[in-house]
Subunit: 307 residues, 2 copies
C-alpha cells in the first residue's frame, strides 16, 4: 500500500487525482495540503507540505498539483524527506529545474515521475505503435479551446511562467514526443500575447525533425463553440488522426476502437509500477519545446484578455 | 593536419577565427563560404556550404560563424558530409536543435564541438579550481556593454532568436556553468524589450542551485563609458571576482596572475584535441538558461532601439 499525500487541492486534484486514487487499491490517500484548507471530509488537510510532513500521517509518496511557478520548493521538500514524487504537468517552471529535481531524486534513492496525462489517452498507445513502422512526412496539431470554460479563475496561467495557451497545448506536445519515432525540435514560432498579461493566448509553432518532417502547431485559447484537440500525421503509408485530446483515433479516415479514456488511472498505475521497480521517469521534452518556442518566437501584442 | 573551412565571414571570423587558425600549425584554413563573397586573398570563397562541399578543396572540418537562427541546415550539411563541426556560440537557435545535432554527429562518427569562447578566458580555469573546494553562497553577474560599439550593424541580434542582450550575456552564463561546482537553474527573470524589436536590451535573471545559492545576472546592452563584464562569487571562504569577461581574476581583492587571454587559440586547441580523440563536446546549458529566462521571464516594453 502506497500512503500518499496530495499538495494543491484545485480543479485538477478534485476532478482527477482524488477519484483516480480512490479507485486504485494500491494507494491510500492519507493527507492533503492546501493554503485554502478546503473541507475534504475525513481527510486531514494541512497548510503546506512542511506542515503535512511534520504533523501528518506517515507518507510514502506525494503528488503535486500546485501551479508550476511555485512547485519547486514543494518538490524539493518532498524529495529531501525521502518521499516518491508525482509531478502534475508541466513538471517544473523551467527546464533546468526539472533536471535538478531528477538529480535530487537520484541522490535520495526515491522515484520522481513527471506525469503527462494526455499520453494515457486511449488513442495514444495504438497511435504510437502504428507510427513506429512508418515514415512521418507532416504533423499538424490543432489545439483550440475556450480558456474561460476550462480554466475559470486560473489567473496563474496568464502570469510569467504560466505558459498561457501552452498550458493545454503542452498536452499535445506530450503526445507528439511520445508517438513520433524521430524527435521533433522547434525552428520558429509566433506568439500572440494580450497586452495586459504575460503569456500567449494563441500561437503558431514550426517544428521539424531529422527526417525533415514538417510539424506545426496551431494553438488558440479563445475558441468558443466546438473545441478542437487534434493531431494529424501524414505518413508514407496513410494518415493518422488523434482527436479529443488523444481519446479518439482514426486511420485513413476509419475510426479505430481504442476503448475508454483512463488518463489519471493510467498515470497512477505507472507511478505504482515505477515505485515497485524503484525507477524514476523524468521527461522534460514537452517543456523544452515550449521553452524553445518562447526563445525563438516572434511576439505580437494583441487585445487585452479579460475573463 | 586538419583541413578546415569557415562558414560565415563576419566580424567574429575576421577578428578571431582566421588569426587563431593561422597561428595553429595543426590547422590549414583551405576554404570559406559567405553569401557576400568577400575577398580573402588566396583563400577560395564559396557562396554557401553546399557549394564549398561540392566544389571546394577536401575538408576534414568546418567552423560555423553564421548567426544562430540559420545555422542548423549548415551544421546538418557539414555533419552529414562527414565533417567535424565547430559551432560558434550560441550552438543553435533552440535547445532541442543542439541535441539533434549531437545525435547526427554520433551517428556519423564525427566530432561536434559547441564552443564557448569565454570559458577560455585566462581567469576561468583558476577560478574553477579555486571554487571547487568552496561553498558558493552568492554569485552576481554584471554584464553591461554598448551594443552600438561591439555589434555595429548586427541586426540579427534584435530579431526573434537573436537573443538581444543575452548574445553577450550567454558568455557570462558559459563561465557560470563552467566554474560553479553545483548546477545553476533559472527561477525568474525580467526582460526589457524595446517596442520596435523582438529581443531584450536589458534583463535581470534570478537563479539558484541545489545548495540554495543566490545567483543573479544584471544585463544591459546600452552601457556607454566603461564596460562591465564581471562575475563575483561570495563563498564560505572568500570572495572571487572575474572581470573583463574572465580575463582578470581577484581573490579577496588581491589580483591573481593568470597570464594572457587566448580564447580562440584555446578553443581551436580543444577542437584539435577532440578530433584527435574522436570525442564530441556538446554543452547546451548556457542556452538552456537563456531559454528558461525567456520561458519564465516577465517582459516590459521599453523605448525603441535605434542604432
Amino acid at each position: 500500500m502506497i500512503r500518499i499525500g496530495l499538495v494543491g487541492v484545485g480543479k485538477i486534484a478534485r476532478d482527477q487525482h482524488i477519484p483516480a486514487l480512490a479507485a486504485d487499491a494500491r494507494y491510500q490517500l492519507v493527507a492533503a495540503a492546501s493554503r485554502t484548507k478546503p473541507d475534504l471530509g475525513v481527510l486531514p488537510v494541512f497548510q503546506d507540505i512542511e506542515e503535512m510532513l511534520a504533523q501528518g500521517p506517515a507518507l510514502d509518496a506525494v503528488a503535486l498539483c500546485t501551479p508550476p511557478q511555485a512547485r519547486r520548493e514543494t518538490a524539493l521538500a518532498a524529495l529531501r524527506a525521502g518521499k516518491h514524487v508525482f509531478l502534475e504537468k508541466p513538471p517544473g517552471a523551467s527546464v533546468g529545474e526539472v533536471a535538478e529535481l531528477a538529480a535530487v531524486a537520484r541522490a535520495q534513492g526515491v522515484v520522481l515521475f513527471t506525469s503527462w496525462h494526455s499520453r494515457f489517452a486511449a488513442g495514444v498507445a495504438p497511435a504510437k505503435a502504428w507510427l513506429s513502422t512508418r515514415r512521418v512526412r507532416e504533423v499538424a496539431i490543432e489545439w483550440r479551446e475556450d480558456v474561460r470554460r476550462w480554466h475559470p479563475g486560473q489567473t496563474w496561467i496568464w502570469e510569467a511562467g504560466g505558459l498561457g495557451v501552452f498550458d493545454p497545448a503542452i498536452n499535445a506536445l506530450s503526445i507528439l514526443t511520445e508517438i513520433l519515432p524521430t524527435e521533433a525540435f522547434v525552428t520558429g514560432a509566433t506568439l500572440q500575447v494580450p497586452e495586459n498579461v504575460q503569456s500567449p493566448v494563441a500561437a503558431h509553432v514550426d517544428m521539424t525533425n531529422l527526417d525533415g518532417a514538417r510539424i506545426t502547431a496551431d494553438l488558440d485559447f479563445l475558441q468558443t463553440g466546438p473545441q478542437t484537440w487534434d493531431l494529424t500525421a501524414q505518413t508514407d503509408d496513410g494518415v493518422l488522426k488523434l482527436s479529443m485530446g488523444g481519446a479518439e483515433l482514426t486511420l485513413d479516415g476509419q475510426p479505430v476502437e481504442v476503448g475508454e479514456n483512463h488518463e489519471y488511472p493510467g498515470l497512477y498505475d505507472r507511478f505504482a509500477t515505477l515505485i515497485a521497480r524503484g525507477e524514476s521517469e523524468v521527461d522534460a521534452r514537452p517543456l523544452t519545446l515550449v521553452a524553445d518556442a518562447f526563445l525563438l518566437g516572434t511576439r505580437e501584442s494583441v487585445e487585452a484578455f479579460v475573463e
